[in-house]
């Protein structure tokens, strides 16, 4: 991997080159609430630099909350159908955390390995991920328990790690190289070195090897009931999750003119599995919470070989019932 250096004071100049490239640049922005969310920005002055984690992940860049699959228009001799794939812009995501970068790895496996999703493929191909290592963490962070670190490079195109007055730049992919080539003069050659002392310290909550083994027999654990008791199925965990991919398909408009939409959905919603007959295979919140956690730690491992939890901690921070995914996983695998 190619390693570069840029002066911390030069980051705004690098950022402005990204803006000038004409691509859509999405970066963390501090809102009045004190929370940080990704949004489109026009200059570095808008970009938040002091934050642990963004409210939502950047997954909406490749898997929008609401996406138009196609629009339709009834005509005299039939129906015109038009998809919107050609309108997808080149996009740069700035400042995502390494955990979120690795979530893109999972999503790419999930969406493209089997029955490839052309919308995801088109968006992902046009997205460059510039991640920034974590110098700070909070109690909800647990990336080190799921095989990652605050300086993981998986899934990102560039990883920036601030080291005093310098920024250590790992050029992970060709897309990452293309991004720094926009302002080549700002970057100097650097040598590979340890990032360790510049990264947040995050305690390990559990041994992933042990959890992966024990969860195989956790389906019938009596603890699911206790652990899901508080859950009222609001779906906040799924919507804030960087790896949740469930969606609904809904039409909008009239029968003459409208759009077919793909919208985020959540396995915690009571209607999610309900049949037209009224029969519901997952009748209660315990079954739904179990599905969510088993999917992250067992089913996605069996199907794709990947634990689909990156330890970002968002579901813990947003849960109104104070459910904690790593505590839940520990208790059902006791």
């Amino acid at each position: 991997m190619e390693i570069k250096n840029i002066k911390l004071s030069q980051l705004p100049a690098f950022f402005d080159q990204l803006i000038k490239s004409g691509k859509v640049v999405i970066a963390p922005v501090m809102k009045k609430s004190g929370k940080v969310f990704f949004e489109r920005v026009q200059s570095y002055s808008q970009v938040a630099t002091d934050y642990i984690q963004t409210g939502f992940s950047a997954k909406s860049v490749v898997f929008p909350k609401v996406e138009v699959l196609f629009s339709f228009n009834k005509t005299d001799d039939g129906i015109d159908i038009k998809d919107s794939i050609t309108d997808i812009p080149e996009t740069i995501v700035w400042g995502l955390r390494p955990c979120d970068g690795s979530a893109f790895n999972y999503m790419t496996e999930f969406f493209l390995k089997e029955n490839p999703d052309v919308y995801y493929a088109a968006r992902k191909a046009k997205t460059t991920l510039i991640a920034i290592s974590c110098a700070k963490a909070d109690d909800a962070c647990f990336c080190t328990s799921v095989g990652l670190t605050p300086g993981s490079t998986e899934g990102s195109d560039l990883l920036l790690t601030t080291m005093g007055e310098d920024v250590y730049v790992e050029v992970i992919t060709e897309k990452g190289k293309a991004a720094i080539d926009l302002s080549a003069s700002l970057f100097s050659v650097n040598e590979e070195r340890s990032k360790e002392k510049y990264l947040a310290k995050i305690d390990t909550k559990f041994s992933l090897t042990e959890i992966k083994e024990r969860i195989k027999t956790a389906y019938d654990s009596a603890e699911w009931k206790n652990e899901s008791m508080g859950c009222f199925g609001c779906g906040a965990c799924a919507f804030s999750c960087p790896t949740c991919t469930c969606f609904d398909i809904q039409d909008e408009g009239t029968q003459n003119k409208g759009q077919r939409l793909r919208c985020w959905d959540a396995c915690g919603f009571g209607q999610f599995t309900k049949h037209a007959s009224g029969h519901n295979p997952k009748t209660n919140q315990t079954q739904r919470r179990r599905q969510r956690l088993m999917h992250k730690f067992q089913y996605s491992v069996e199907n794709l070989g990947i634990v689909s939890c990156v330890g970002c901690g968002r579901c813990i921070r947003v849960c109104p019932a104070h459910l904690n995914i790593f505590e839940n996983i520990l208790s059902v695998t006791q």
């Binding site: 029955n115 490839p116 398909i249 003459n256 793909r262 959905d265 999610f272 599995t273 037209a276």
Partner: protein, 279 residues
């Protein structure tokens, strides 16, 4: 070659409408674009997403046999937003169709075997596809026995075809209605399908069985066949969980790690026993 956009539907013209039972209709659909008709193929057991533009999509198995070329049929009950809109469509209206999705019944493996169908209500449509597929090459199979029931006489679907199968000497047909669902003129059986199955058990020698129904019928029917000597690997079912995408992405149909839409909908009892009962 670019991968196909699996969300863009084929345009289908409603070529005929048959009233089957209260709120239940069969639509015969023909491709609007001849090129689509030429390249579209499917096999018994597969399903499709049927869409009314502006209303959404619903999932049903293809109810016609692949041996009957040039059209597809679906049978549905008007229940929710989409099926109500579908029911309000008229002859020659254009609807959308995506598919075919899912795996298939291994019909070639059944050559020379006796075949038993166990089904109820509007779960006959998915099996009707298989039944005609077998009857259209009748010489390749042994005995064919069909157990079919509905809540009431009025709720039986494909009444003309039931007549036809009942009059054929090469098909053994048990038609039953739930207790209380009979009419004074009713000459068939009265009783729930699992009861009729237990009272008239099919022979398991050299036989395969296919069970389709509301989940309760699947959950009760398969153990009865197993008890009667059918190998669990020779008892098939088609699971009908809620689905949206049809291609293993939207997450609605999962049973444990299994996506009913792409890993199924056809499963053997042996496979079902290894899955959580989330269907």
């Amino acid at each position: 070659m670019e991968p196909k956009n699996q969300y863009i539907p084929y345009k289908m013209r409603i070529a005929s409408i048959t009233e089957e039972a209260p709120l239940v209709q069969t639509y015969r659909l023909e491709f609007v674009d001849e090129k689509d008709a030429e390249q579209f193929t499917f096999r018994a057991g597969q399903f499709a997403e049927y869409g009314v533009f502006g209303e959404g999509e619903s999932t049903f198995c293809i109810a016609s046999s692949p041996t009957r070329e040039g059209y597809l049929e679906c049978t549905f009950r008007s229940t929710g937003r989409v099926t109500k809109a579908l029911a309000n469509c008229e002859l020659n209206d254009i609807i959308g169709l995506r598919g075919p999705f899912g795996n298939t019944f291994p019909i070639e493996e059944w050559y020379g075997k006796n075949i038993v169908f166990v089904t109820g209500g509007i779960a006959l449509p998915p099996l009707r596809c298989v039944i005609w597929n077998l009857l259209d090459q009748r010489e390749k199979f042994g005995d064919i026995t069909i157990y079919y029931g509905a809540r009431s006489v009025n709720d039986l679907v494909y009444k003309e075809e039931l007549e036809e199968w009942s009059s054929r000497s090469d098909v053994k047909l048990y038609v039953t209605v739930d207790p209380g669902g009979e009419t004074p003129e009713w000459k068939g059986l009265v009783g729930f399908v699992p009861t009729v199955l237990e009272q008239n058990p099919p022979k398991s020698d050299n036989a395969v069985a296919i069970v389709a129904g509301p989940p309760i019928l699947i959950k009760m029917g398969m153990p009865i066949l197993s008890k009667n000597g059918f190998d669990n690997a020779n008892i098939y079912t088609t699971l009908e969980n809620r689905m949206k995408c049809g291609v293993g992405k939207c997450g609605h149909c999962t049973v444990g790690k299994t996506y009913v839409c792409k890993d199924g909908p056809v499963f053997t009892y042996e496979e079902v026993l290894k899955m959580p009962a989330e269907y």
